[in-house]
Amino acid sequence: MRRFTKKELAKYNGQGGTATYVAYKGRVYDVSQSFLWQHGKHQVLHTAGKDLTDSLAEAPHGPELLEKFPVVGILEDS
């Protein structure tokens, strides 16, 4: 499985036609197909290309909504 640094992950921010990836607990998820991640933004407050482990702890939903999406890699420096 592909390994991402935080710098590499940041390239997949959903802007300018790039794929939309986010990381959670060391796994990188491809959320490009999610209606709720259009243009790399989620509910105004969150942007793609980042490790959202801390943010998800405060979100009004658990990881189960993220885990529906394909895992495309591992975040190295998480």
Binding site: F35, L36, Q38, Q43, V44, A59, P60, H61
Partner: protein
Amino acid sequence: MAKVTREMVEKAGVNLDQLVELLVKNAAAELTTYYYYTILRVNLIGLEGEGIKEIAETARIEDRNHFEALVPRIYELGGKLPEDMKAFHDSSACPPASLPQDPRDIQAMLRVLVEAERCAVRGYTHLCNLTAGKDHRTYDLSQAILNEEIEHESWFSEFLGEGPSGHFLRRGETSPFVSKFLR
């Protein structure tokens, strides 16, 4: 726009631009859900479908009421609705509650309905969390809507056999919590 209202909310530490954007996204979710629920409701046919139709209709009308109740608050806070209806649709805080492939599959219909309500419950919980103790009017409105969305979720959840809702369908007027914002 209500100038002092904006000042008070900002002074309390709320990011106004983010809050307004979230309110617009939730208003979009309400109006689009009202639209998609119209399609779901007309397709709730047959013995099983007819049994759900009345509650789906109540949820549909209440979602429209939520849209109506949110709009004044958006403008009070200096926001506005997008002029482009398609852009408004695509900015929704919840995915489209689209008709399932087989509308006679009542379980699939109920899953669409319950997922739409669950998205709304998450959204208004988030809005309540952001505004609690800071923006009293938006909090009051979000909490009123949240109360109704929770009931909608519990109705559809009960039909899915997930457990008793503890509620009965509305008697009389719709929107018992939000109606005070519609007068």
